[in-house]
Symmetry: C2
Subunit: 184 residues, 2 copies
């Protein structure tokens, strides 16, 4: 009898815990009701573009370096907020992209900022190193940041100059035969 | 006779100067020929999206703060490179936008970075203060940066918290009756 009551109690507690967990993750993005609400309010009312995407700038939380630029859809933003792990929408692969799922180069979110009209994000992240070895980095080409070149004056107009002198990891060792996302 | 020769010489020198000036500004963006050229080369071969636009992240050259996010078309990028003054494409007004032309809050470019696949830019800029008075800033709402709020845990899901405590200038004094670019 006592065992039966304890089991029933355990079941009740479990149900309540699951319900609370669902409620916590079941938040909604607010509707956009006015320019004042969007610009001066404390309500998260993001605007996704005609493709359902929002641009996102990612920078290193400790150094401030701009590491990469990508897009999020609603699911990626929700997962990034809920898990504090960076998720994006891969336009080249047309799928949700948890950063680091192939490479091990994860991004642990320290802070998320949003801009005045709530259609652009800044992620401040800490990085992890590639599973296959190398230094912490973010760019699939092997450099620490995707912004590894600056535009300079050349002989016949603008040219590029590398500002990172060497790669942080070997992209072949990390990505193997995974298709390169760069499109011409 | 001597005056006529001097005039002719002056005309020749003027023509040569104008020709050289046109040649210098008459550079072309390179065609994109291979992934290796785009990712590992020193040739500027930018990719604009289906609307002819490229995303651009602007940060303060001295402090590293991310100030704003906007888009450039080919003309805006060309003008930004040639004049070292930030130019963008205004999507809300559908016109070329020289930053600061209304407000006086210009952006003097110190460096331009481009990413691995050459479809995103970082501008590092110094700011000027509004003509109507106030501190140097970048955001039309009056804050120094457009990213003046962070996403935090709220009672019923994510909410926003201001990380800038006061405005750098009075937007009404600076912009007057200019339509607000924020769209719902």
């Amino acid at each position: 009898m006592l065992v039966a009551i304890k089991r029933k109690r355990l079941l009740e507690v479990t149900v309540v815990c699951i319900a609370l967990s669902i409620m916590k993750d079941d938040w909604q993005f607010a509707l956009r009701s006015s320019v004042e609400q969007v610009e001066e309010g404390d309500v998260l009312a993001p605007k996704f573009d005609e493709h359902g995407l929002m641009p996102c700038i990612t920078r290193h939380a400790a150094t401030g370096e701009i590491l990469m630029f990508a897009f999020m859809n609603e699911e990626a933003l929700r997962l990034s907020i809920d898990t504090q792990q960076a998720h994006y929408w891969s336009r080249s692969r047309q799928k949700l992209w948890k950063k680091g799922e192939t490479s091990g180069m994860r991004q642990n979110i320290q802070r998320i900022l949003i801009d005045d009209d709530q259609d652009c994000l800044v992620l401040e992240v800490e990085l992890t190193s590639p599973d296959a070895g190398g230094e912490e980095a973010s760019c699939h080409v092997g450099y620490r940041s995707c912004f590894y070149r600056e535009i300079v004056d050349g002989q016949e107009g603008p040219a590029l100059r590398f500002i990172e002198s060497e790669k942080s990891f070997d992209p072949e060792a990390v990505y193997g035969d995974t298709p390169n996302p760069t499109q011409l």
